[in-house]
């Protein structure tokens, strides 16, 4: 069924969002049209505000609405340890753990040998610039444990080690609560490789 111009446009715009097909877009559009006017207005305002105010932190590259971001501006954070992640969502995931007191650096992607994505497309230059002041003692490479993440970690290690900074990688292994029989070969191999003595 065809809808009037404005409705059709709203459905079209919603359908451009990731994970939203035309059916879901229709459902969302009709919810917005049938809900009180302030629901749609608040949503439109929130989208506009976020789009206008959120930008990349000039220090770490994370998305922020102030410069520098809250983590970089926090004096209590240990500036000698930088955790390198692929995506701003990874910062949020590590922050949930609450045990990490260092700062972050967001690459906004990962090297990909198959897609031909090289280092010039990532936020790497500013990372190297951050390391050159000599204050950073350790870089933790928290890229995803897949081909792209491993390629990025290997490349960064190659680049950072000559500067004299310790480079570490997040441990690979079995997820908490998992059964050993359900683990795949790569994970088991990495878990055996990275085994530790019990204290």
């Amino acid at each position: 069924m065809r809808y009037a111009g404005a409705v059709s446009r709203l459905i079209g715009e919603l359908a451009r969002l990731p994970g939203i097909g035309s059916k879901t877009a229709q459902r969302l559009a009709f919810f917005l049209l049938s809900a009180p006017p302030e629901v749609a207005e608040n949503l439109a305002f929130a989208i506009r505000e976020a789009r206008l105010q959120v930008r990349r932190c000039p220090v770490c590259g994370n998305l922020t609405d102030r410069e520098p971001c809250a983590v970089c501006a926090d004096e209590a954070r240990e500036k000698a340890v930088i955790c390198v992640v692929q995506d701003p969502r990874d910062v949020a995931a590590i922050e949930k753990y609450r045990g990490f007191k260092g700062v972050y650096h967001v690459l906004h992607g990962a090297l990909s040998p198959l897609a031909g994505l090289g280092p010039e497309e990532l936020n790497i230059k500013s990372l190297i610039a951050r390391l050159e002041n000599g204050l950073v003692k350790e870089v933790i490479l928290a890229t995803n444990p897949d081909v792209e993440g491993d390629a990025t970690a290997l490349y960064l290690a190659r680049l950072i080690k000559p500067i004299g900074v310790t480079v570490t990688r997040l441990a690979h292994g079995l997820p908490v609560g998992a059964h050993l029989e359900y683990a795949d070969e790569i994970t088991l191999g990495k878990a055996i490789e990275g085994r530790r003595e019990i204290d």
Partner: protein
Amino acid sequence: MKLYGVQAVVINSRQMRDADRVLTLYSREKGKIQAVAHGVSKPTSRKRGAVQPFCHSEFLLRRGRELDTVSQCEGRDIFPGLWSDLDRMGCAAQVCEPVDGLTVDREPNKAVFDLLLGTLRKLETVTEFELTVRGFELQLVALLGYRPQLDYCVNCGNGSLNPVAAFSAASGGLLCKSCAVGTDEVLCSGETAAIMRLLLDWDPVKMDRLRVSIRSRNEMRKVLREYLQWLTEKRSRSLHFLESISDYRTPD
């Protein structure tokens, strides 16, 4: 039956939605297949290890209208050596990319599968991985019917009388010095042509025994890049990756 089993190498993988991936598999039984692996980016997925790029795995696939779906899979060769070395990883991508670009869906070719799997196995251990990739590229194009003419000039047929001067991707072979005048074809010396002839039938196991000059390596890389680009009608992404990680410089 909607379910069928194949033994395949994952030659490409791209993100679809948040946790799903679209895999390009090259299988012994059915040739190239596109399949969706649902939820493999989640840590709880049992399939995620066996669907990583370059893995050789047993797949149980469910036939779909457009794309098949990975129902079960188990890794056979996971090639940890390729994962722990950036250059080997780039070479593995260079091996998988032309297989994806030059083959068509569901046309099996056991020789191509064996060559692909054999080369990935060699890349894990061999020290001469650059020549291994060049040998693979030459043998792959030969298996698929695009064997380059390396014995005489493709233009005049009298290559043996004149020194070799260039390689013409469009004509699929060597040009002698007189036929190469005025063209902008890729430079290819007699030494490079001789090594390429050798690599066409060379066993990858013996690759470490070859001694090849830097000049010939560079010429061979350019010749095969041009030839594969001509055949696939695409620029090599993996070669671009390898070049970018070696050329990339940090700010002064």
